[in-house]
Symmetry: D2
Subunit: 336 residues, 4 copies
Amino acid sequence: MIIQLEKNISEDQIQTLKTKLKDISYKGNRVKTQFSDYVICVGKTDFDIRSIGILDGVRDIHKVSDAYKLVSKKWKVEDTQIDLGDSIQIGTGNFEIMAGPCSIESEEQIASTIAHLKENNVKIMRGGVYKPRSSPYSFRGLGIDGLKMWHEQTRAAGIKIITEVMMTEQIEEIIDYVDIFQVGARNSQNFNLLDALGKVDKPVLLKRGISGTIDELLQAAEYIFSNGNERIMLCERGIRSYESAYRNCMDINAIAMLKEKTHLPVIADPSHGIGVRQFVDKVALASIMGGADGVIVEVHSTPEKAFSDGQQTLNYQESNRLFDRMRKTFNLRESF
Amino acid sequence: MIIQLEKNISEDQIQTLKTKLKDISYKGNRVKTQFSDYVICVGKTDFDIRSIGILDGVRDIHKVSDAYKLVSKKWKVEDTQIDLGDSIQIGTGNFEIMAGPCSIESEEQIASTIAHLKENNVKIMRGGVYKPRSSPYSFRGLGIDGLKMWHEQTRAAGIKIITEVMMTEQIEEIIDYVDIFQVGARNSQNFNLLDALGKVDKPVLLKRGISGTIDELLQAAEYIFSNGNERIMLCERGIRSYESAYRNCMDINAIAMLKEKTHLPVIADPSHGIGVRQFVDKVALASIMGGADGVIVEVHSTPEKAFSDGQQTLNYQESNRLFDRMRKTFNLRESF
Amino acid sequence: MIIQLEKNISEDQIQTLKTKLKDISYKGNRVKTQFSDYVICVGKTDFDIRSIGILDGVRDIHKVSDAYKLVSKKWKVEDTQIDLGDSIQIGTGNFEIMAGPCSIESEEQIASTIAHLKENNVKIMRGGVYKPRSSPYSFRGLGIDGLKMWHEQTRAAGIKIITEVMMTEQIEEIIDYVDIFQVGARNSQNFNLLDALGKVDKPVLLKRGISGTIDELLQAAEYIFSNGNERIMLCERGIRSYESAYRNCMDINAIAMLKEKTHLPVIADPSHGIGVRQFVDKVALASIMGGADGVIVEVHSTPEKAFSDGQQTLNYQESNRLFDRMRKTFNLRESF
Amino acid sequence: MIIQLEKNISEDQIQTLKTKLKDISYKGNRVKTQFSDYVICVGKTDFDIRSIGILDGVRDIHKVSDAYKLVSKKWKVEDTQIDLGDSIQIGTGNFEIMAGPCSIESEEQIASTIAHLKENNVKIMRGGVYKPRSSPYSFRGLGIDGLKMWHEQTRAAGIKIITEVMMTEQIEEIIDYVDIFQVGARNSQNFNLLDALGKVDKPVLLKRGISGTIDELLQAAEYIFSNGNERIMLCERGIRSYESAYRNCMDINAIAMLKEKTHLPVIADPSHGIGVRQFVDKVALASIMGGADGVIVEVHSTPEKAFSDGQQTLNYQESNRLFDRMRKTFNLRESF
């Protein structure tokens, strides 16, 4: 059950509400976000929710049977739009592309990527400066210095930055240089990190776990939301399956279902989703037909020389073609 | 290695070829299909294939390193088109829809379905008369009598029939009433059935196993081809995953990869693919963007009253809309 | 609901029962097995089963909520023992080993295997004469001639034969030479084959599908039982998982659960279960602690020269050691 | 390649080694642990390792082709034993049980558990004070106060504590009250946490990810080891599969394989491994036969009243019986 409070609810009204909840043995969690003020209630007894709805200071009340509450469409029917500033919005009829290399490598690489994005009217650049790597002996990214260098160039170009944050301590260090925090698949149930990202006022793109369920993804998003941050995007990036012909199994079904279950925007990551360069194109277009609000894709001037994951990265010629096809596919879908 | 023979190869030329193969310790399998005459060779030593290519009676020779040979695109680069007669072709730029109920139930149901298909210019009707069911106590289909009744109506209407065959003994019984034999997911490695279907001259739609690999699917198709039947379609129908939010995990990745690995047409089955009615639409369109040459979809006048699988079956209003969207999506894809 | 009938139930009594079932809208399936006579009823209304239990000709009646009925322990609490003759029993405190090569290859190989089994007091020999192979170009077994040759030697030695049957047509051909019919993983939902095996009076070992659920396995067994054959063993042989370090994932959990859910004996197949020779030993012993009533294991005098699957096959020295350890492990388990 | 250095290697000798590695284009990572001093080298060119082995200051050198190096048995053949003090050792022929509740709940609960462990000669108590929970609205543990209360009682009783650490910041807070740090399945690739645990001198039990591969688990352990901490145990706790009859699929195969691939001790967690109380017993015994060096198991005086995960927790009567059976099973295995 979600109780949305009036902005100006008084202490007395809060007390009355608390007493009422206690009477029906409900536990209430107060949630204040950038935009609103809620009490999320968990309990077992059945009762007439109107008896709470009529209390002073209560703006709205909804029953939500899902384990996740605030991110559920059962509570909030209209899709959420995330405003990144400079007229860049994600969700609700906009289609945004995020593109860039797996890892930030050098000033030259950044400049080349920005030029490529500008040419194609892509406004959000992806790239890693802290890289989660299976082996401790692999390259782990340029860190904060790489980010600052990157930030300088994108600011000048009017491009937004999305990059992965791997631990709570990094949030403060990088927040001024980042437009969207990305939570990687391996951290999708790092609950302390999710708690911390709920306390900042920057959008978060949350990836599904390597074999995460749809329900787990939504509950992970609930962690962020219930700590105070409503600006969340979900990201399907392929799941682990028995099939070894591809790296991951892009789960188109999850995209379709997420759009029914939550009001949050859903982004598709076809590069990791299938993990094989020559199929990224088809999987990206399929994801749009499946309902994705945006696509995040790896591009590099010379994929074969990329610091990491070159085998799933498009070159500029391939991405030029894909950007165009994605927009046409999105337009057709929106015409339905 | 695939050696394609001249149609008029002589016995002497065959003997010369045999001797040559024996010399290099290769095992040769003679394969005669509706269209051509081959020797498929498996061996380990490396040699110059031109020494065979120049023999009289040999038309063409190719090395194929895949475990499957005749169905591989490494051998036959151009896509295969399957002609069903009456100007109905599957593959190579045509988009065909197969639609109909899970089970054939009655004359009225057949008539209603045919009318619905005619209205939408759909030329192939699906339906089961032998139903594989998990429980022995469930309805197992109307059998041969249902098929004859169905056949009578479709002939009059100019509609083709696709239906599942479950065992070798049924082939002869039903062959005169069927335009496409369907092999279900549970029989995708029923090698005796595949052998037998290789010996008939009717097209076969072969479904991927419930957790079949792409490689297994192609080798299963090789069974049919190497027994003499070249007219094979492959069908992606969702794989089993850990996710319980949907019935199956439609594997868009497999569609994209199959189109690279084989020259055979690929059909998508979104109804079983996700198994949840409200998402069949999006998954079907995604499959087309993934590369599908056709879509097979379950429709019923009143899904809630269907004998089986009603929860994944569209009603006429839903399928009307889907037929239109699928064709538009296919047209956009072909324009790329 | 399962109604067990008296052996001498009269036609009049049957009619009374039928009328009664019709009154409560239950569909009854008459099942006659080697040992008994049942009516399996499926329906939705709730009623007092005693009203049927008191009818003349009715011996016993049980409610069974599982989708499978006759194989459920909810109906038959005592474990089933399968008698192979010559004092060889499977289940209920006996521990039987089945051992032998993947494929029957030659007279010498059979003789060598038999000698090895006799030395170790193993009474059941496994081996394939019809082999399901992923590729149509692989060796498919010696067929009926191989089986006859094998049968001759085992009869003389007092050894029982278990071998795979792949299609209905083979049953009659091989029944006289076989003591246990094996249904392979790929045919675990070949319902026509299961129906046919329900009509013969020889024991059947039914393998779990490559990614079959426990429930599907039990329903597949119900097919055999409900066609009249009560003598069924279930076999866990590893499931398909995302892990590529081993060939299959032996599912010890399934063994433990099957022993709770069904009265049928459960056999473990560690050779296919993990598919890597050096680990067969540990997996076999673990399976016994998990509850297995027997183990089927691949042995060959020279695994590296075996016609197929040599990489999961033990040599005689390894199997000698394993036979001994398995019996000690079983004895410890039975002492608990 | 692993180069083990002499303890008293000089700066000059280090320089000579560095020059030598540079000559052959190898990247060297210096690793100092509690026990030794290494250089881990990654490179591609082939050369005679003896040319390095003969350098002054080099104690030993090994080629290791695995992606993980220091945890590989290819480098260190003898199994590692972890000494917890007070004559408690894990690995190499000892069998240790860790038992206790899912969550620490109260002083009374702790006292009751300790009494139960003492009675059964179990020396390590498990329990959670920081609980990773799918939903943000669930109980998340008593935190540091709960741990201090717990620590006080165990010290008095001579019992060791194992508890989960969820984030880097918690390490310092809890290190004085903990004998073994546990890394949960959801944090198995939280590389920053692994880095940090490599820098403390307390043993770490590292759980396999929810769908982690064996290789990923070993590389995660390499993170800890290469940061300086050699005292690592690996833990198999069940993987995610398509089967819904149990909560997780305890992967006995992984236990058997880990014992071949690494010298680190392997602990089985049957409680999470299958996640169904009535089968914990069999799965625990199977794990021992699979090669486990120890078992961690959930026990509670009244599982049905436990704060969390009661459905997989044994009561004292059940665990009494299991402790006894596990020791007997271990003894039989060691006799082989």
